[in-house]
């Protein structure tokens, strides 16, 4: 094959060719980049709007939380809890009235009650003493048996000295309340 072009011209042509090729590559790259930018623009716009919307919502929520006044609510709950805690835990005692009613229900015509003493020792324990007159020993024994059978008391104590007399007996019965 004959070389029609001298070497220096050949080099020039080759150099120009490379420059033109590089230019085409760069133009293409630029085109691709601009296309990417163009396509990414909606995503950027969407993100901006989303961010603005989220900030607005957060501001609104913060304002609504301020209006709600969390401190008042929490202080109301704390105070209420404290009071409930105190009310539920202190001044507990076995109620007197159910005990009195139960004892009164066991009285017969041969028993007369002239005194009753109650003392609470703790939330569920206490002592009860009942004083009275019984027409005879049998009536007193029946009365005490009824109290024992009620199951309201842990122990029912009738001192033996109560039986010294055979009629119009002054008696005293002591009972302890336990859970």
């Amino acid at each position: 094959m004959f070389n029609l072009l001298p070497d220096n011209l050949k080099r020039k042509v080759k150099s120009e060719y490379r420059l033109r090729l590089s230019s085409v590559v760069l133009v293409f790259t630029l085109f691709v980049q601009v296309s990417f930018l163009f396509f990414i623009f909606p995503a950027w716009l969407g993100s901006s709007y989303k961010e603005k919307e989220a900030i607005t919502q957060k501001d609104l929520l913060d304002k609504s939380l301020l209006i709600l006044d969390t401190k008042t609510v929490s202080s109301a709950i704390t105070t209420l809890n404290m009071k409930l805690n105190v009310i539920n835990s202190v001044l507990q005692y076995p109620k007197v009235l159910p005990l009195v009613n139960s004892l009164l229900a066991k009285i017969t015509g041969q028993i007369y009650i002239n005194g009753l003493t109650f003392e609470s020792t703790s939330a569920k324990t206490g002592t009860v003493a009942i004083r009275g007159i019984s027409s005879n020993r049998e009536a007193l024994v029946v009365f005490v048996k009824k109290i024992q059978d009620s199951g309201l008391f842990k122990s029912v104590d009738l001192p033996i000295s109560n039986f010294t007399k055979d009629k119009n007996i002054d008696f005293s019965v002591s009972m302890t309340i336990a859970p």
Partner: protein, 187 residues
């Protein structure tokens, strides 16, 4: 030669433009990334704050709905300056039941169980005198008071009956109750 120089300038400008667009693209990408991250953080905050707000609204509604119960709780403790009113109330109950009432002692005692709170205990020792049913009703009303009360001691005796009396002859007589109660009171 002229043409070659012109091509080099174009190449330089194009290269610079590619570089600039790349830098711009990087910044846009970073911006989108940071915006999305911010949105994600805000969304999390929003959901947690929204749950907090809902809980607060619910709690407020509950507090409003149980207002009557809260009042009952508040009224179960005697007000700071309510001791006189309470004692007068006790005397009034006694009077209504035909009893005469005498206050023996009034003591304010701090309970160690709630010493740190603003609540203390008022201990009252008193006597009532009257018939059996009056004393019984007084006890019923005392234990049914809408305040937190504890009957520490209660003694009920018939003062008229003598020892050894006949059961059938033991009359109704005069009954005297001696009691000691504790109630909660604001300091």
């Amino acid at each position: 030669m002229q043409n070659n120089k012109f091509l080099k300038i174009i190449l330089f400008v194009l290269g610079l433009a590619v570089l600039l667009v790349f830098v711009l693209y990087y910044f846009v990408y970073e911006d989108i990334k940071s915006k999305n991250q911010h949105v994600s953080t805000l969304s999390n905050d929003l959901s947690s704050q929204s749950a907090k707000r809902d809980y607060l609204i619910l709690t407020q509604k509950v507090i409003q709905n149980i207002g009557i119960d809260i009042n009952r709780i508040n009224n179960s403790i005697i007000a700071k300056d309510g001791d006189v009113k309470f004692i007068e109330n006790l005397e009034s109950i006694a009077r209504q039941n035909g009893l005469t009432m005498t206050i023996d002692s009034l003591v304010l005692a701090d309970n160690p169980e709630f010493a740190s709170s603003s609540i203390t205990t008022l201990q009252i020792r008193a006597k009532t005198k009257g018939n059996w049913s009056g004393n019984y009703k007084f006890l019923v009303e005392l234990e049914s008071l809408p305040i937190k009360i504890r009957v520490n001691k209660f003694d009920l005796s018939n003062t008229a009956v003598e020892t050894g009396s006949d059961v059938k002859k033991a009359g109704v007589g005069i009954w005297q109750s001696t009691f000691e109660i504790s109630v909660l009171k604001y300091k």
